[in-house]
């Protein structure tokens, strides 16, 4: 009942998400669970160079997308397919009832991997 539902990390990621937007590379989008997630990336030599997101959804999802994009840059393209959801949820203290939305983010990343 008490307590801020958002950690200060979630708050600052939500307020100023450095990776919001899109790239000139391929993009993937999923609309489900009441949210829309779009990811796009530019890759070189099987490495993700720029990753951007667009989200219509709650602050946790926006923060999660921001964390994901910033983590992905510099990683091999295949990282997109790794199951990062649980990790991000822990790191950002995402409430369990939002698991579905984080999975949409995961699925979108997987979809993007196939397009790269």
């Amino acid at each position: 009942m008490t307590g801020d539902p958002y950690s200060s990390e979630v708050r600052s990621l939500f307020k100023a998400p450095a990776h919001a937007g899109s790239t000139t590379g391929p993009s993937a989008r999923i609309d489900a669970q009441g949210v829309s997630v779009e990811l796009s990336a530019e890759a070189h030599d099987c490495r993700l160079e720029t990753v951007r997101f667009r989200v219509r959804g709650c602050p946790h999802l926006i923060a999660a997308a921001e964390v994901l994009c910033s983590d992905l840059e510099g990683q091999p393209v295949t990282t997109l397919e790794s199951p990062f959801g649980a990790d991000i949820m822990r790191r950002l203290s995402v409430p369990v009832e939002k698991t579905g939305r984080i999975l949409v983010l995961e699925d979108t990343a997987t979809l993007l991997a196939r397009k790269l």
Binding site: F14, A20, V35, V37, R54, V55, R56, G57, C58, P59
Partner: protein, 387 residues
């Protein structure tokens, strides 16, 4: 989070008026307000006199007699007592009741409990502007109908129902009429001498009084009576027992007195703020006003945009303290049942924001609110994938 909050959630609860706070603080330690007013000794009689004065103040706000008021812990209890109390009292005559899905939960949840007890409830849907079509009510009334409960000002949208017309219809059919006036008492004119209302609920904390005290008006008419919900020491003619909270009652009386004096200027002030707020936000693309363009209490403005997430919008609106849906429902993230029953889509209802203000709010508050709202919608739209 460092900016100081701008409180625009008056429909959830208002700040206390300084005059009321002072009256309450003084009463706490005042010899004439310490004793139990049921006691026959001198201190008790002094307390009883203070309660009598407060009853006169509330009665004169409403245009009724002091003896027609029952003190309660707030509007939830007053609504429950009115509805269950009257329905059970008149159950022998018939078990049909009428209300609307846009009522406050203190009304709808009580009706649902009565449905489980075997009462038959007709739920009248509002128009898209939140107003009741009175013909629908006329059609709903049967020989069995004993009680109609339709609120004055809606807590989510500010829509004002025509309580006089509803009351006249009810009276002509010998049906009791209950009005949840939690959002209107002290803010809009109510005159129970003239208005055909049998039961009316109010709560102090919606008109600058303290939280935890309210009242139920019960008309002095044959057939108009409530059965108690609580049982105990016989206070208040056994209709609502428990030691009377004298200082809270004094504060409610004071809030009523101040409200009576300031009603016109408060309303003018709210009207001015509403205009400023609306001016600031009306340019937002796709903006929907949830409510009625004219039949409204000006201090509540509820708007939707269908294409942004409500939760993100609320966070982006900080430091504004505003509501999505009604205060009571804000913990569960379901779209407002009030807006849904007015025909809004899930997305529209979810993105709805209620801005509510009053006596202590300033033009700067609402101007800032407008600009923060405009910026937030625009930012979240940019953040989202194309439609």
């Amino acid at each position: 989070m460092s900016e100081s909050p701008i409180y625009l959630d008056y429909a959830a609860t208002t700040p206390i008026d300084p005059g009321v706070a002072q009256a309450l603080s003084e009463a706490l330690c005042d010899e004439t307000a310490i004793a139990n007013p049921s006691s026959v000794h001198r201190a008790g009689r002094l307390s009883a006199a203070r309660v009598a004065t407060a009853a006169e103040q509330v009665a004169s706000l409403l245009g009724c007699e002091p003896g027609q008021l029952i003190w309660t812990s707030g509007a939830t209890e007053a609504d429950n007592l009115a509805i269950a109390g009257a329905a059970r009292y008149r159950a022998d005559r018939g078990r049909h009741l009428v209300t609307m899905p846009t009522e406050h939960k203190a009304v709808t949840d009580m009706f649902q409990a009565l449905e489980k007890e075997g009462f038959d409830v007709t739920w009248l849907a509002p128009g898209p502007d939140g107003l009741l079509d009175i013909d629908l009510l006329e059609q709903a009334l049967t020989e069995k109908t004993q009680l109609v409960s339709i609120m004055h000002v809606n807590n989510e949208t500010g829509v004002v129902q025509d309580i006089e017309a509803i009351g006249e219809l009810c009276r002509s059919r010998d049906v009791l009429y209950h009005v949840d006036a939690a959002q209107s008492a002290g803010k809009l004119p109510i005159d129970l001498r003239r208005m055909p209302i049998d039961l009316l609920s109010l709560t102090a904390h919606k008109f600058y009084g303290p939280k935890g005290i309210g009242a139920l008006y019960v008309a002095d008419r044959p057939g108009c009576h409530v059965e108690p919900l609580l049982f105990g020491g016989g206070q208040q003619r056994s209709l609502r027992p428990g030691t009377l909270p004298v200082p809270l009652i004094i504060a409610l009386g004071k809030a009523a007195e101040i409200a009576r004096e300031r009603q016109a200027s408060d309303l003018e002030h709210a009207t001015r703020l509403r205009a400023a707020l609306w001016d600031g936000i009306k340019g937002v693309e796709g903006l929907l006003l949830n409510g009625h363009p004219t039949a409204h209490y000006p201090g509540i403005v509820n708007v939707s945009v269908g294409d942004v997430d409500g939760e993100s919008l609320l966070l982006d609106l900080e430091p504004l303290c505003v509501a999505t849906g009604s205060a009571c429902n804000s913990k569960n993230q379901e779209p407002s049942y009030v807006l849904r029953s007015m025909g809004r889509s899930d997305d529209e209802a979810e993105g709805a924001i209620r801005v509510s203000f009053g006596r202590m709010s300033t033009i700067e508050d609402v101007e800032q609110a407008a600009s923060i709202y405009v910026d937030a919608v625009s930012r979240l739209r940019q953040l989202a994938p194309a439609a």
